[in-house]
């Protein structure tokens, strides 16, 4: 771009954009929090719903230990670590630890569909995932699909192994003793233990046994193989295999099972050795070599996938050179909601990569015609090994738990990130169907925190009620901004968030001074505030609202209920680091169409430009661009999209500065405040969530049986909702199927509440989808 158009003295924004202000441009978020811990070591930092308090000193020390573990694992500057878990204290410690080790974090909501989670982790080449006990199982199921993912950490498990805390050997033995003692042959073999669509009958069981026997023999080259069976149960498979084996060892933790297996094998004409032990003890209790090690319908009863992996690693040494491990009857997470251990086929296929000694692993789907019901959906697998000389001991990285974290010292690492390093990536909806990851540096985040904390005098006596998802960028200020000020974060639990009355209790009974949310989240609570007798509403002093239109009456309702609350409207874009403008809401004229957008914050500049990127005349509507320290680095792994939305700033203060094309329409008001006038495109806000209608439409078109689709966001009382229209290919397609398919692709807030089937989409004269006609169909 050549010489930029002059900013004439008559154009007020040249004045209102004089926002330059010194801030500490060379410090990082961990620096700010370490200083807070120095200044206020004993003040609360994190307060949970069960009134547990973590002080600033404790937060700092705990995060240091985890940061050291991450660094020991080779995670540091340039790496990305995902947070996949509950909004709880360990997660906050985890976020700080990630930043301390120099890496950036990306929040991933565990409620998102697995497919989306895998896609996002893959897109960012995530090196490690921080998760928790509750979400470990989902992460174990999908981690194998993410090639870059080396480490999974679960700090809230104190024991060394993920399974050892909940593993109760006595209960397992009792249970399988009980099962194997059942008079009913099927039940004794472990069938019909839980209600399925149709109970298994004798035919099913016979088919199953014959299939497993044939499969095991097909997998080995030995004519009379030596066989080790783990989880032999009542001896169903023993009877089929033992007569044809050169040696047969039946292992089970249940003495009753082992006895029955031996009896069954003897009746069938085979010789069976029995060993009573758990799968992880087999390598120590049994001598190899074996041609076949068989786990038939056993894996689903193991404690978890990490356990399975360590068992497999320990069994490799028991195999003959051309021996195989056969895993029969595995349950695919994509096909079943079975509560026990499910094994994704990817896990099997990737085994050679992370289990040294495994030379090949194959997945064998079953013929649907051979099996009825549930068993048809299960699958079998064969694992082969390299010749024994090339079989090193299992070198796989274990799951890292609180045990490993506690082994690290609590002193800070000597080095951390720099201000230019990436602090976080937060995903927003993308119009083409793929979410966009917005990449933000420490410097931009520090500028934001400096500005908010100074403008609103946030300090060590402040406590914020943290009600937002980590995946919303408001959380960046809520956590790091308030902690940097020496204040504290009161985590609202999921249960507290579900019931507005409980949130009112917290606001009235605890020492909460700051509320920060999208307007919709507070508007959910206000009806409950208003119908209750006030009881302690003087503490709340600052209400920050952003992310969506603020209902014009809302500020007055808030101030009527909470007399000391100052209401602030904030705005900006995720691409410009949470917020970059603010408006202290004073007297509200009920006739206003909206609460004004306000003025740019420190070191941010707002331009209203015409199509030629020239400043619009004062008061005229134009496109809103944001420039300054707040501008993000861009979109992760999307140089094209980044170049299209982040343009060179013609009025830059330094060379290389860019301005972000928000897609918002805006104009300057006589007061010097900006007024927001809507969007250029199909981006909408639904209860504070930023959604591209194109992403929802693209998901609809991925649903099997959908030929055409369109999505609208009608405005109604209390805001907008999503409504979708679809045209089935040929067969009528029930709405419930479409909803089900959407739920496997999109987060729940993006799934339209209303879905309508049409024969054809209505078109306008110009051949475009007629949205007005669609809206009238609702």
């Amino acid at each position: 771009m050549s010489a930029p158009p002059a900013l004439s003295p008559g154009v007020p924004w040249s004045v209102w954009n004089q926002t330059a202000r010194h801030f500490r441009a060379d410090v990082t978020i961990p620096d700010l929090l370490a200083e807070a811990a120095e200044r206020h070591p004993d003040r609360p930092a994190i307060v949970t719903s069960d009134k547990q308090v973590l002080t600033h000193r404790e937060l700092h020390r705990r995060a240091n230990r985890l940061a050291r573990l991450l660094r020991d694992l080779g995670v540091g500057r340039g790496d990305t670590v995902a947070l996949f878990g509950e909004r709880d204290a360990p997660a906050l410690v985890g976020l700080l630890a990630v930043l301390k080790c120099g890496a950036a974090y990306v929040p991933i909501d565990p409620s998102w569909p697995a497919r989306r989670v895998v896609g996002l982790l893959d897109q960012l080449d995530v090196a490690a995932v921080l998760t928790d006990r509750t979400h470990l199982r989902s992460m174990q199921e999908l981690r194998w699909q993410v090639r870059s993912l080396r480490h999974v950490l679960c700090p809230d498990i104190a024991e060394e192994f993920s399974w050892s805390a909940t593993f109760r050997p006595d209960l397992v033995v009792n249970f399988f003793d009980f099962v194997s003692s059942a008079p009913d042959q099927l039940e004794a073999a472990g069938f019909n233990m839980r209600r399925s669509e149709r109970p298994f009958d004798e035919n099913d069981v016979q088919q199953y046994r014959d299939h497993v026997a044939a499969f095991a023999f097909a997998a080995t080259a030995a004519a009379r193989p030596s066989i080790l069976e783990i989880g032999s149960g009542s001896g169903l498979i023993v009877e089929a295999l033992a007569p044809r084996a050169s040696r047969y060892v039946a292992v089970d933790p249940s003495p009753v099972s082992v006895k029955r297996s031996q009896e069954g094998g003897f009746r069938a004409g085979g010789e069976v050795d029995g060993v009573v032990c758990f799968a992880h003890e087999v390598a120590e209790r049994v001598q190899g070599p074996f041609d076949v090690i068989l786990l038939a319908s056993t894996v689903q009863f193991l404690p978890d996938l990490d356990y399975l992996l360590s068992v497999l690693g320990s069994l490799l040494g028991l195999l003959a050179d051309d021996g195989v491990i056969v895993l029969a009857d595995l349950i695919d997470p994509d096909l079943s909601d079975y509560p026990g251990i499910r094994v994704a086929p990817h896990f099997i296929e990737h085994l050679p990569e992370f289990l040294p000694g495994v030379s090949g692993a194959s997945v064998h789907r079953r013929q649907v015609e051979t099996f009825a019901g549930e068993l048809a959906q299960r699958y079998d697998a064969v694992i082969r090994v390299a010749p024994s000389g090339d079989r090193p001991a299992s070198g796989r990285e274990p799951l890292w738990t609180g045990h490993h974290i506690e082994l690290r010292p609590s002193e800070p690492l000597a080095t951390g990130p720099t201000a230019d390093d990436i602090c976080y990536t937060i995903f927003t909806s993308g119009s083409t169907g793929a979410p966009k990851g917005v990449v933000v540096t420490h410097r931009s985040a520090v500028n934001l925190i400096d500005w908010v904390n100074r403008s609103y005098r946030v300090g060590p006596t402040d406590q914020i009620l943290f009600v937002t998802s980590f995946c919303f960028d408001l959380s960046v200020y809520d956590i790091f901004g308030v902690l940097a000020a020496g204040g504290s974060v009161r985590l609202a639990s999921a249960a507290e968030l579900d019931e507005p009355d409980t949130l009112v209790d917290l606001l009235e009974q605890e020492e909460i001074t700051i509320w920060d949310s999208a307007p919709a989240a507070l508007a959910m609570v206000m009806p409950f505030v208003q119908v209750r007798e006030p009881a302690g509403r003087g503490t709340l002093r600052l209400v920050l609202l952003s992310g969506d239109w603020i209902p014009v009456p809302l500020p007055d309702q808030i101030r009527a209920a909470f007399p000391n609350a100052e209401v602030v409207a904030l705005g900006g874009a995720t691409e410009c680091t949470v917020w970059s403008n603010h408006y202290r809401v004073g007297d509200v004229d009920p006739g206003w169409p909206s609460i004004p957008y306000g003025k740019p914050m420190q070191n941010a500049r707002y331009y209203v430009l015409d199509h030629g990127l020239r400043p619009c005349p004062y008061g005229a509507e134009g496109d809103l661009y944001i420039a300054g320290e707040c501008v993000a680095l861009g979109y992760a792994r999307s140089p094209g999209l980044t170049a299209a939305k982040f343009l060179p700033d013609p009025w830059a203060h330094r060379t290389g500065e860019r301005m972000y094309h928000t897609g918002d329409r805006a104009r300057w008001l006589p007061s010097g405040d900006l007024e927001f006038l809507g969007r250029l495109d199909d981006q909408v806000k639904v209860r504070g969530y930023r959604i591209e209608l194109g992403e929802v439409q693209s998901a609809l078109l991925q649903c099997p049986g959908v030929r055409a689709a369109s999505v609208v966001a009608p405005s109604g009382p209390g805001g907008r909702t999503l409504a979708a229209f679809y045209v089935p290919t040929a067969e009528p397609l029930p709405k419930a199927e479409v909803v089900g398919a959407l739920q496997r692709i999109l987060p729940s807030y993006m799934v339209p509440t209303r879905i309508v089937a049409l024969d054809e989409l209505p078109l306008t004269n110009t051949g475009k989808v007629d949205r007005a006609a669609l809206l009238s169909r609702l």
């Binding site: 019931e499 209860r687 009382p717 209390g718 805001g719 909702t721 209303r754």
Partner: protein, 103 residues
Amino acid sequence: MVNDIGSAEVANPDRDGNDGSARGLLRAHVRAGWAAALQHERFDNDDDFFAIGGHSLLIAEIMAGLGALAGTRLSLKLFFDHPTVNELTDALAAHEAFGSLAR
């Protein structure tokens, strides 16, 4: 505006199932709460709230209002589990605090 419960419109509930019985009166209160939140009355007593343009924000208005009516706290979950006028009426009728209104 939180809610119009108690307004003139509700004081004379006479359509859509108010047969003069206590249950009918409660149903009329529920309908009035829905109508105030949705700002229309074009729904049947068996319509799903979400299918007629409802969403969680409006549920908060309705449940805060109905709770205040009976002097009790109502869980939002109660609404999510009973998202039609008839179902919500029945669920509330089973609620202790609504006993005097429903019987």
